[in-house]
């Protein structure tokens, strides 16, 4: 599990307008792992993926995949790399089956009907194989893009926000499929804005902002460091100060004492247990509440708390 399949050294990218999208990035991806790249809008995630996949010309730096220097042996390297782009760009008038078969051929593989069928079935697209892509819903289109990327059986797969615009149920299904790919030995690099997603799937997590990798760590270690749980408890009656029974919890009163806000725990789920303990303590103290809203922090929240609001994810420039 530790042999690097992809090595990025000193990678920088300055776009024509002068935007420095990547700033001296070093990254090493291990064979067989799922690596989640997290970062706010404009952090450079898509640029990083583009540099490896041949869409972006690096300004400086060296990328090695499967032992091939991408500047020289790009043919061998690219043949083993698959890409699911962030944008839903598909050939609208093509049918699903033809589009996916085309991708396989484009990457130099002999036609294999059974393999294509298997891929389409695994993505619940087989029934739609003869539909034109423009007739599909957004989530289905994204799955077509995934099918296209899998058609040439890549060893290394890039998923740029694979679950954007995909409904909750399908998102779960997609997580399962990604785990299935990992079991088959495919190395996966994905980007996401959701820490739950990284939590669910990733072995390792990298955080990128302003074109720089801030940290790379095993997921479990990072979740404990960065994750928090937030719970809003609506109180039946406003309180003016915290009762002693719950003073030990990381809570504060809000909204004129009508709302109790809990913020604590870590990525390992201890926050939820603590909220449960908190509600019992409230009950014991005879404090009635009318509702609870609990959620784990998103990456955006973490960035706000970690880096201050100026560095919070930028809105579209």
């Amino acid at each position: 599990m530790s042999e690097p399949i992809l090595t990025i050294e000193g990678l920088s990218k300055v776009y024509k307008g002068g935007v420095r999208a990547l700033d001296n990035v070093d990254l090493s991806i291990r064979k067989g792992e799922i690596f989640a790249l997290l970062g706010p809008n404009g952090a450079g995630k898509t640029t990083l993926i583009g540099a490896v996949c041949g869409l972006v010309r690096p300004t400086t730096g060296r990328i090695t995949a499967f032992g091939h220097d991408l500047a020289k042996d790009w043919r061998q390297a690219r043949a083993q790399i698959g890409l699911v782009p962030q944008e839903l760009s598909t050939d609208m008038f093509e049918t699903v089956l033809r589009a996916v078969s085309y991708s396989r051929g484009l990457f130099g593989h002999a036609p294999d009907k059974a393999r294509i069928e298997e891929i389409l079935r695994s993505l619940s697209l087989w029934e739609k194989r003869d539909s034109q892509i423009r007739e599909l819903s957004g989530g289905m289109k994204r799955r077509v893009l995934i099918a296209k990327a899998l058609a040439h059986e890549p060893e290394l797969l890039f998923l740029d926000e694979p679950t954007a615009g995909v409904d909750v149920e399908l998102r779960k299904g997609m997580w399962e499929q990604i785990s299935g790919l990992k079991e088959r030995g495919v190395t996966i690099i994905l980007t996401t804005h959701y820490i739950e997603e990284a939590e669910e799937m990733a072995d390792r997590v990298g955080i990128i902002r302003g074109g720089q990798i801030l940290m790379v760590d095993d997921k479990d270690a990072m979740m404990e460091r960065l994750g928090t749980t937030e719970a809003l408890i609506e109180l039946a009656e406003a309180m003016s100060e915290l009762p002693p029974e719950i003073a030990a919890f990381p809570v504060e009163l809000r909204d004129g004492g009508r709302e109790l806000c809990y913020r604590g725990g870590d990525g390992s789920g201890s926050g939820k247990a603590e909220v449960a303990a908190l509600t019992m303590a409230l009950t014991r103290a005879g404090i009635e509440y009318t509702g609870i809203d609990i959620h784990d922090s998103s990456l955006e929240d973490i960035f706000v708390s970690l880096l201050g609001s100026e560095d919070a994810p930028e809105e579209a420039a």
């Binding site: 869409l55 010309r57 043919r75 690219r78 609208m92 085309y102 484009l106």
Partner: protein
């Protein structure tokens, strides 16, 4: 992995299929336009014209009409082939695939040239409905048409990469190729022009193409076939060089 033959073939087949999907636009429309020219210039007006260089007027205009459609259709077809993926974003797949300049050209340009050859065959077939004509050097004609189709497919490919709007895409065929072909001796022999226009007309490169094709058809032409051939080959070489440069630098393809 050396040359990715399957990749090139996949592109080629897909591009051809795309043409069949829009068969009306890419085949029927040019056939209709050409037929109209034959009816108006060949039959209606042509019947009152003197033969030119021993060739019946209606037959005389066939090579020029063929060239007119061929240049316009080949260029716009080929430019669309590469412009559309850039426009819709599907080009990401091509850029991330193990295909280089050779595979891309064989796929896109090969398909565009093939379509043009099919189109030429259809136009020549249509012409037989209106005119009785004989091609003097059929193999030479086929070779020359292929050469022109390949050159303008390459040219269209460059156009499709250069263009950053549909407007620019349409501008070259409509504003440059069509007028130059009209003025390039499609409907007359250059020596029918008064001084100094017969000389000025030779500044129009397309005059050489029309003349070259007419030579393969009837054995006589305004300028020597060697000059026409040389010019076409030169144009082909320039296009190949430009495309090699585009791929080397990633211009308008890779950020």
């Amino acid at each position: 992995m050396g040359f990715n033959f399957r990749g090139a073939w996949s592109i080629y087949i897909r591009e051809l299929m795309r043409a069949f999907r829009t068969a009306f636009q890419s085949i029927l429309a040019p056939v209709l336009t050409t037929s109209l020219y034959f009816i108006v210039f060949g039959s209606a007006i042509g019947s009152r014209m003197e033969p030119i260089g021993g060739v019946e007027y209606a037959a005389f205009i066939i090579p020029g009409l063929l060239m007119l459609t061929l240049l316009g259709e080949t260029t716009s077809n080929s430019s669309f082939g590469i412009y559309m993926p850039r426009f819709t974003g599907t080009i990401y797949e091509l850029l991330s695939a193990p295909v280089g300049v050779a595979e891309t050209l064989i796929g896109f340009v090969g398909a565009a040239a093939t379509k043009s050859l099919i189109l030429a065959a259809i136009i020549l077939g249509t012409a037989t409905l209106f005119v009785d004509y004989q091609i003097k050097y059929p193999l030479f004609a086929l070779g020359y048409i292929t050469l022109v189709a390949a050159s303008f497919s390459l040219f269209g490919f460059i156009l499709g990469i250069w263009a950053d709007s549909f407007e620019k895409l349409g501008i070259i065929p409509v504003l440059i190729l069509t007028p130059l072909t009209f003025l390039g001796g499609t409907f007359y022999s250059l020596d029918m022009l008064p001084e100094p226009w017969d000389t000025i007309a030779l500044a129009n490169p397309i005059a050489f193409l029309v003349s070259g094709l007419r030579w393969t058809f009837y054995g006589s032409s305004d300028v020597s076939i060697a000059v026409s051939l040389g010019l076409t080959l030169g144009f082909l070489a320039i296009c190949v060089t430009v495309i090699a440069f585009i791929f080397k630098t990633g211009w308008r393809l890779r950020e």
